[in-house]
Symmetry: D4
Subunit: 163 residues, 8 copies
């Protein structure tokens, strides 16, 4: 049902950080009226889930989640390694960590056959020594809007601590 | 600079999935004109980063990230365990996984002294057998808008695969 | 293209250890002429790969392989645990091993969403303490006809050793 | 009791994927009548277990099973490593996997003294960094005819999913 | 050369946090002049290393250092476990930690035969599930006066950060 | 409240191993009367905790403790590695150990953001192969005056064993 | 070639700690002249390797060596566990250790099929929580006469240290 | 009480595999009558424990036992590595093993301060990649006369299997 135009609109929203049809039009050359029309359809179909443009990832064909622990030689600079990790397509989260592992990376893929490509790209990074990837059976919460995880009392307290 | 009103507005946006002043007003009883005024200020201050209401977490006093691996006895049902994990305040992401660990959970806290409280709450869950937590030195990417991680070509291909 | 009749014939071959249409007929009540006809079609389509009735597992919709390490309390008898492991649908290989793990089990599933069901069934076995499952990216060799892995010289030598 | 001729016949069946005396004769030059006679004897002795030519591995002097986890540097290509692993005599199964280990390999040997030779051959592969081998105390199921592990209902369901 | 009186004086210094002969006298009933005399001798012999009463542990017969990782069930309260760990004689440092281990404890003993007693006492604590102890070959630095590890510039910076 | 002069005095005490105002004066050029005055203030404020000049580390802005396990190639000499580890600012304890880890190092930092700098410095040591760092949630005992951990009876016994 | 009489003589030597035919006779009732005759034959055949009655284990049918790491709950007393470990037939060495494992046990068996029996007996001990057994590919040195491993200079030095 | 002459006699017994005073005399030049006299004294003192010349290791000043797991690069030949391991003074047992570790080595030392020397010598072997050493708290059985670990029935059975 979705076609390339839909995807170009959705991607523009992510890239630009806005749902404004005018700005999407400038980035994509798709007529503004078409953008309006498409966005409405995507909302009706549940692909766009709310006013914040959260997306239904399954509808987008990104239903497989993989967590990858990366050991790397970052004796020169961890930033160089980080940059290359972030450049791998599908890497949606990445953390530089203490502990036995140097980086924890989370990636989303369209199906389990893409895992081979993903691992290959990690291993092709010169400084990467080992990867240990784990298949996510079920994602439970995605962290798109993190204030949902706090009570207003906690937030007020945290802020008070900061000042 | 931020006060409780600002936080109640930001939290309402997350909870409701909208930045609409009218809906925020209904949920919070804060006058609509105040909401307009406050949102503008928060945008100017960089706390709200774009039209999608992405937030600057450091400004919100949530600068510490912890990754927790959880081993649990889920022989009855993993959903019961998952529910309790998600109920812990500050848990922004959670995954039920294959491999040596049963759940991978990511939490955000205001400072490292809160870690003790967090670990305590995990260990208090009856089915949790062990936790192994790792301190994130630097978060590299947060996954708030995941389409940024893909080229339009890939997205089109993935979608084609799905159909 | 395949239907239930095809599958009942293929399963009968596995269960009976024969490709004889007469014996398949006795077990399935499918007319012998139909069996002949179906087997020819399955051969032409490449589902049946040779005279030994090796099967193309992808064509059968069993394209996902998972290796599960099982730690169990087998202080009473390992056979009781083994029986329960073998009773889980999709378990095609299983080994009782020395080393850190008690059992190594290999299972085939139709897609990655079935992994949740599989893990659940392992964890439901009372004596099972932990499972550690690994997703197979690519199966390289399947061990269906193991003499392919030996030269005739080695086989002669091995046999000589035995006597 | 078995001699080299028996073994050459059995190996030809594996290599050719057929039990047809004519084809075995072409590959081995053993007279067809001899092949008939030998196959009957091997069936009577239980070495050949059924019409699908499954073999009694103990009778063949291949009673020792070893599971080897292989860590390798496959940054150039995992296929190069895979090829070398598969070329080691006695390797009957091999999987390229996610997780802490890169390859899981299963080998069968005539006795435990052959383990030294096997490990040596793994370590001689340039890209292999470490091997971790585990002795199988008792093989429980061998996966020769995997449809035995499924009910007909599941097979029908799986197939339906595929289409 | 040292006798019980010397040890009682040295222990009083540790317990009271002072080298004052008057206070040591009050705690031990040893005459003040004896205390003066003994302290001078201990300084001459190098047992007391400086004005801060740092001690030569080897001279005191405490030459063996052991690091113990402790896994414990602290679902009720980690403080209960901590208290019992600290009550074991010879435990000079203890930390409640994130990561795979719950507590890291450092103990000093007079000789390696005392290790058995130490491990026994750890294992006798009800909440302790496992201990993993490591023998220190050579202690490199002891942390008695930690400001030695910092430049004055760093200290000034750290303090500025605090305010 | 504390300023650089206070810190220079406190550091001199650690470096010299004495609280003598005369010796501190020689090392720092701060007038003796000022030293007297400052030390009294630091005692009143609880920064100096007793006559042995034990310090309140939190008051000094060193509230974060990290335990680092270090794997290193010390085939030439472990002393070379040890020296470099000890030269890292903030390393207050270090042990050369048996077991899976070569060195266990404890460091104190002013806040969790300094961890990145610390790990970087460890990884920059040529012989260091891997580090595994653990965040201390709560330090329980610091080992500044270790005789507190022993009864007088044990000390007498240990000493007797030595002779 | 060896028969039960030979074995009873060899076992008596081990049990009694002597090769004296008179004492062996008292323990076994085998006539002294027979003992003389048999011992000479066993020496000629190389089963008895020297005057210290070291034995050729392969000739005795004990060619398989297994190293077993044992984790046990020894909170009551490690001696109780140790006793049960030593009572398992074939256990020739056993150590109570520091580190991740509680006991390291070495056993000799006649062939790899006996491993199943051995593991079963370990797991049947109530306090044993887990075993991790490793197959020895080749024993390199057996420690029967340990002074061979030292130079005379070292022995003299060690002894001097002791006094 | 023991002197170098005693040690030279004891070592000659180990090296030659005999307690014959004549042969010891040939190897050591110590007069035969002295050898007789010394051996009697060593027996009376319990250093020599029986007619098989088993020794009381504590009396010999070799009271510390260490188990060392060795990971090595043995891609060329494991024998080269084995030789170097066996050449380290104090190594009394060594095994080439399957599993995560390549070699398991047991060494005896006079005191825990010698551990540093031992580890240094292991690490100095070029092919050795890592060592993981564990301190033995209490040796439970030493394997000097292994037939003690078997019943006569088992030995007869094992032998029967061999033939």
């Amino acid at each position: 049902m979705m076609d390339e135009r839909d995807l170009r609109i959705l991607k523009a929203i992510s890239d630009l950080g806005t749902g404004s049809p005018e700005q999407i039009h400038e980035a994509t050359d798709i007529p503004i009226s078409t953008i309006h029309y498409r966005l409405n359809n995507l909302r009706d179909a549940g692909v766009i889930e709310n006013d914040l443009y959260d997306l239904d990832l399954d509808a987008l064909g990104l239903g497989v989640t993989v967590i990858v622990e990366v050991l790397a030689d970052y004796s020169e600079s961890y930033e160089t390694v980080a940059e290359q990790l972030l450049a791998i397509e599908g890497v949606t989260q990445a953390y530089f960590t203490m502990g036995e592992t140097d980086f924890v990376v989370i990636a989303r893929l369209s199906d389990s056959e893409k895992v081979e490509r993903l691992i290959r790209e990690f291993e092709a990074i010169e400084q990467v020594e080992r990867t240990n990837s784990t298949f996510v059976i079920t994602p439970l919460r995605d962290g798109q809007h993190i204030l949902q995880s706090y009570s207003i009392e906690t937030l007020v307290d945290e802020l008070a601590d900061e000042d």
